[in-house]
């Protein structure tokens, strides 16, 4: 969503908003953007960007290290830029976040059919562009499209469920970046496994459209932590470290979401002065 405080065009900064706060026009625009990306079979398209994370080789994602948060921020940034590319200027599109700690279950925008007879492009996607030779019998089986098998939900979600709001609040109080990053990554892992199916395994997880809303939430929690702990840095992670395969970004360049042209907003309110 374009920043309403800069509707004159002085700044193109966008707000990423909650999936539950999307208007019907925003949901339609998001679905349109994902559909248009899927129609592109080159390096602007959905298949290409989903494949960056896992298969086809090389698997580029970074997990289990303090680079986890910077790398995925850069990944979402590049994906979102290509999403914006396929939409008209000023279309109400950005990557929304799925707050799995307070919103039980798969978000409505990402499940079920779209309006009319069209399939909902946020409910699933083809798993394509992976050479058969990379399904070796020693890794995840070849599938034609994404699937989900969500776990249990309920008050507090229970021990089999999603991370709770209390867990998120607890890690936001941590003061060391690497400590925070490791704990947030563990909640991230839990959500991948809760969604089940394609999302459960690194090689194919990013083909599920829900991947992007999940990771927007992870990125948002990091942004909230940065606001709560100004100057906290990135521990042992050097700021000049490149974030491959995103050639224009280093760790230092992704530390500020504002510098990347977006913000996370729980709510916005604007008025015309008179």
């Amino acid at each position: 969503m374009t920043n309403p405080d800069n509707a004159s065009g002085a700044s193109p900064r966008r707000y990423r908003t909650s999936v539950t706060g999307l208007t019907s026009a925003q949901v339609s625009a998001l679905r349109s953007g994902f559909s248009k990306m899927r129609e592109l079979s080159d390096d602007r398209g959905y298949e290409y960007w989903a494949g960056i994370h896992g298969l086809p080789l090389p698997i580029s994602c970074v997990h289990g290290t303090p680079f986890f948060l910077p790398w995925h921020r850069a990944y979402l940034y590049y994906f979102e830029q290509h999403l914006l590319d396929v939409m008209p200027a000023n279309a109400p599109v950005s990557l929304p976040w799925w707050d799995w700690s307070t919103q039980a279950g798969i978000p409505a925008a990402y499940s079920g059919a779209a309006t009319g007879t069209a399939a909902n492009p946020l409910a699933g996607a083809p798993v394509s562009g992976i050479p058969d030779a990379q399904f070796t019998g020693q890794n995840v089986p070849k599938v034609a499209s994404t699937s989900r098998a969500p776990g249990l939900t309920g008050p507090g979600h229970g021990t089999f469920g999603l991370p709770s709001a209390e867990q998120v609040s607890a890690i936001l109080k941590l003061t060391d970046f690497e400590d925070f990053s490791a704990q947030l990554e563990d909640l991230h892992n839990q959500v991948h496994m809760w969604v089940g199916g394609t999302m459960s395994e690194i090689p194919v997880a990013a083909f599920d459209p829900l991947f992007w809303a999940h990771h927007a939430m992870i990125d948002r929690v990091w942004a909230l932590w940065q606001l709560a702990h100004p100057g906290s840095g990135t521990g042992s992670v050097p700021h000049n470290h490149p974030l491959g395969p995103f050639p224009t970004l280093t760790v230092g360049q992704v530390l500020s979401v504002t510098g990347l042209g977006y913000q996370y907003a729980a709510a916005t309110s604007s008025g015309t002065p008179h």
Binding site: F135, T136, Q138, G196, P203
Partner: protein
Amino acid sequence: MFTANPLTAALTCPAEPYVRADLELYGVDHSKASFEGRLFINNATAAPDTAMDDASGYAGSFWIFGHGGCAGAEGHCEPPQQRRAFDFRPPHQLIPVTKRIIITGRLRELVTPGEEFTVRIVPYVRPEHAAALPANLVADLLRVERVSLVTYQ
């Protein structure tokens, strides 16, 4: 078919008061299927069907987002034993990771300061997910080189 291979480590709780207690797992393999690791204190028989409650000594979980096996040719997924000098490439993706689980509250509740205790780590994969994966991805899932209890005053 998924069959859990739990591991158990003997540790000592410090006698001194602590404000935070972390269970640190070093050298955790993440090359296979994703799984949940469930931690049980002083429960030598904990298994995937053990209730995760106070009575069972459940102390928390961690989650491994698995690499999902090997999509390359032979040797592709074997981390090198040593890095050569002037090798500036990123580290191999399957180098085992460290997991740190904060267990402060449960340790206080379940273990008397100064006493020895055991931690049993039980891997768990949801049955429907395990059934969709080749057997090699869910066999011998849990590999941990070392377990430490680290407390802070």
